[in-house]
Amino acid sequence: MRRIKAKEIENKVCEAALKANFELRKDVLRSLGIARNKETVPIAGKMLDILIENAKIAKKEKLAICQDTGMVVVFCRIGSKAQIIGDINEAINNGIKTAYKRGFLRKSVVRDPLKRTNANTNTPCVIHYDIISGNKIKIAVMPKGFGSENSGAVKLFNPTATEAQIKEFIISKVKEAGSSACPPVVLGIGIGGTLDKAASLAKEALLRQIGSRNPKKHIALLEKEILYALNKTGIGPMGLGGKTTCLAVNILEYPTHIAGLPVCVNISCHALRSAEVII
């Protein structure tokens, strides 16, 4: 067993939260650059230039990429040979609290979904735990903005639904969202499992590098087709028109029940922020 102090986890989570908010992921920045070069609509090109410039300023001045610094989602994978000394839930939340205070990040979490008093700490975050092999802890911190979060959806299809129907559902959600999701978007899609499994897969899919493909050929093809179709919609950056509506479609799939076919699409704006640490 390898012993890991909760305090160390707290510090690393804090670092990751700051990095995620100030430094746009390299793969996201790269894909914005690629899209910029391909874009032919002037206003769209200009918007992409602003986004690239924005990422530069944010990194240099340690300023939030976007003022909606999100509700934080944390994926915590704990090696079965790691022993945590202290309370890991508390450590992760304290790390986020410190980051949001120290980094001058906006506190957007309310204590109760109906009473709506601001917690003023941007906590609690949403934590997904998993056990993996080895003696390390891998933590991904993802601040998720709500313009795009509000645009996602789950649909529990019949098991006989066709791929075309799934595609249509996903494309319709991006169209409905329009400018509210701050396009160009990145889609995280979960297919299979149960309602909750599909939703957590969709979120996790957003962690996958832009440009990577699902290892299963037929799923990879579906990713490609959805991406192509979305970039034909003409929604464009900020919804002002253009070729660049979607930067990537990432699908994660899971076995499911004979009677069902859950599909969840989690939309991320172009400000797709996350940072990973390994302890």
Partner: protein, 177 residues
């Protein structure tokens, strides 16, 4: 490519009617930030016939909840938030002389007809570029509702703040072009 129009705020009615959906502008002058909770409070004031904490007449409202500012900087990251959440409150504010709004995304039919009726204009600012826009803000002061934190009303002095005319005074809408 259209040429950029430079606009000094407060904007005059003559300038407003000359703007067309899709025009690119640079705004300089005073704007007030206000989002969900500030809108709710302003409209409650109007309904109760109480004086407003800010002068709405001829003013510009920016739908924005910035991140806290660091020492020595006027403001933190400060991009626009989704305008349609403010739709239910907007016609009342327009009837009180609000001249323009800045936000992101489309508006309701009711807002579009109020924009036409009161000859006002809705601008779109680049969304998710809050660090970039922070550079365009020269001064920021809390003007009302300090307890609301990021949702308070701030009086911002902006210089060359980039925006696009989303809905013009004739009701033309950039999202439907």
């Amino acid at each position: 490519m259209q040429k950029l129009k430079e606009i000094e705020l407060p904007i005059t009615k003559e300038e407003i009617v000359r703007l067309r959906a899709g025009d690119e502008v640079l705004l300089s002058g005073i704007v007030f930030t206000a989002r969900d909770q500030a809108h709710k409070r302003l409209c409650e004031c109007i309904e109760a016939n109480k004086p407003l904490p800010i002068n709405i007449n001829n003013s510009v409202i920016y739908y924005c909840g910035p991140t806290p500012h660091k020492k020595g900087k006027p403001i933190g990251s400060c991009g626009p938030t989704t305008a349609k959440r403010m739709d239910e409150f907007t016609p009342v504010l327009l009837s009180r002389g609000l001249s323009a709004m800045i936000g992101k995304g489309s508006r309701s039919k009711e807002v579009i007809s109020a924009i036409k009726k009161y000859k006002s204009v809705y601008f779109i600012a680049p969304a998710g570029a809050g660090a970039y826009l922070a550079k365009k803000v020269k001064e920021a002061k809390i003007a009302a509702y300090p307890k609301l934190g990021p949702e308070a009303i701030y009086r911002l002095k902006v210089k060359d703040f980039p925006a696009i005319v989303g809905i013009d005074s004739k009701g033309r809408n950039i999202y439907e072009n």
